[in-house]
């Protein structure tokens, strides 16, 4: 494997192969956990770890897994990793873990994971597979963080829980400003995601439909 190739595997998920904006996978959790930046950030890291290591493990096992039961083996690996991540979150960032609630468990059903295992890890060596997994997790994560950035800034006036929009601007304190209540609701997350896809496709012309 040339280093150039490794770089390409790493960069594709951030641009023309982005799991969220191009492949449109993992939308459900992108809408659910992006009200605040902190949970979105934790979710992004969790998914990155799970995609990276599940790709690595499946890639090691790829020649020994019988084709007919490969989905079960993949699920087993993913589920194990997700449970591990969940336990770690509960132990160290309990509040965030409670906010994420069921969505950590639902990483198991995130289409990005199975997609990368089927499409990449089963046919490639461990190191490229690991890079591919990490990059796809991060590509998903970066969209999550961008969506959460806008939703937290305009919906709550904060970033990572720190007040960004000055308190004195608010109507309650004699100013003119109000937080946007619509942006907290899931439909607006979808619209923001749509806008990101819009911007992405206007920059990267290859992605535009003919």
């Amino acid at each position: 494997m040339s280093s150039n190739n490794g770089l390409k595997i790493f960069t594709t998920p951030f641009n023309s192969g982005n799991p969220v904006t191009v492949l449109v996978l993992g939308i459900c959790s992108a809408l659910a956990v992006t009200v605040k930046l902190q949970p979105a950030f934790v979710m992004a890291i969790s998914v990155t770890i799970v995609t990276g290591f599940s790709n690595l493990i499946i890639s090691f096992l790829r020649n020994t897994i019988p084709n007919s039961i490969r989905i079960i083996v993949q699920l087993l690996v993913i589920a194990t990793l997700v449970i591990l991540v969940n336990e770690v979150l509960k132990a160290y960032v309990y509040d965030v873990s409670k906010q994420l609630s069921v969505y950590v468990g639902l990483i198991i059903t995130n289409c990005i994971l199975m997609g990368r295992l089927e499409a990449f890890a089963l046919g490639n060596k461990p190191v490229p597979s690991f890079i591919d997994g990490i990059a796809n997790g991060a590509g998903y994560g970066i969209i999550l963080v961008i969506v959460a950035f806008f939703r937290e800034l305009f919906g709550s006036g904060t970033l990572f829980g720190i007040q960004i929009i000055p308190e004195s601007w608010y109507i309650a304190n004699g100013g003119f400003y109000l937080n946007n209540g619509l942006i907290i609701l899931p439909p607006m997350a979808l619209i923001i995601l749509g806008c990101i896809i819009w911007v992405h496709r206007s920059i990267n012309k290859e992605l535009q439909d003919k």
Binding site: F176, L178, G181, L182, I183, L185, I191, W198
Partner: protein, 385 residues
Amino acid sequence: MILKKIVEKLKPTFSKGGKLGMFHSTFEAFESFLFVPETVAKPKGSHIHDSIDLKRTMSVVIMAVMPAMLFGMWNTGYQHFLSIGEEVSFIDTFFYGFFKVLPLIIVSYVVGLAIEFTSAQIRGHEVNEGYLVTGILIPLIMPVDVPLWILALAIIFAVIIGKEIFGGTGMNIWNPALLARAFVFFAYPSKISGDKIWVAGLENAQNVADGFSGATPLSFAASNEIDKLPDTMDMFLGIIPGSIGETSTIAILLGAALLIFTGIASWKIMASTVAGALCVGFLANALGGTPYLEIPAWQHLIMGGFAFGAVFMATDPVTSAQTETGKWIYGFFIGAIAVIIRLFNPGFPEGMMMAILLMNTFAPLIDHCIVQANIKKRMKRKSIL
């Protein structure tokens, strides 16, 4: 005619390849705003161009909206002076409201037209006139004290997300004016619901007259305080708190008459919307139970935004059903759903906005079913022969 000469003289500068060719769309918009377009139908075929193009259609709608707007301005002043317990002359009342409403209209047109012109320039299309009507409707369905930046934001959202990304005027699924209102409704609920925001200056007022509440008839009704409802005649004339243009049923009926007379809006939609509301109203009367369920069904027609929605919003030719049978179904459900929301959803005193947006979504489906049914019927007839 001097104007015409100037336009003719400037034309080559702006046409493709000319010095200012990049502003082609903008120039054309002004030209066809002033004069009937030069284009005529092709010599082949049986089609002719009607001299009524989109712009002239729009001007009729704007004329139809005028009575409701002017009344809204007067009522804004009237409600304000009522709330502080002062008596002033008719002229003062009107001009107080006029200067309250004017900024909303200016913001609406400046923001909306800026987006229209920019997107037409980017796409190289003609500028569409769709916004001329939307721009006057949006301020009329807002409370008078809505902050201007919120209004601007709502218009940006409605025009870009609601209209431009679908391809501009004529392609949108939802009525842009109602989308702007829905945006404010969900994003800044404290500015468009409750009892304090419908009358100018009431929210921060120091000296409110005794016994003045500022609540709309619908909010009395929703809390089952039927005895507090204003006089029926007041509600019909529109001397009640509410969004700027929605209060006066009689002014809206004047507009409706003009729209129906010129054939611009569908009377079928208006009639079936009223029928739908009355049906649910009568059913609720039969059901009984709470005072609100037992109010006469026709009272729903003169409260809140029902009349305005039925005449100016539901009949939008782009977002309503296109087939003739479809129009009956579409209108009926708007009326029925609006009254159902009013009567049975304690969270929303008014249901007209939701009902129209919901039926906008279903209008293409209704049309599809009608067309398919028609095809089936004809196929059957053919197979019998």
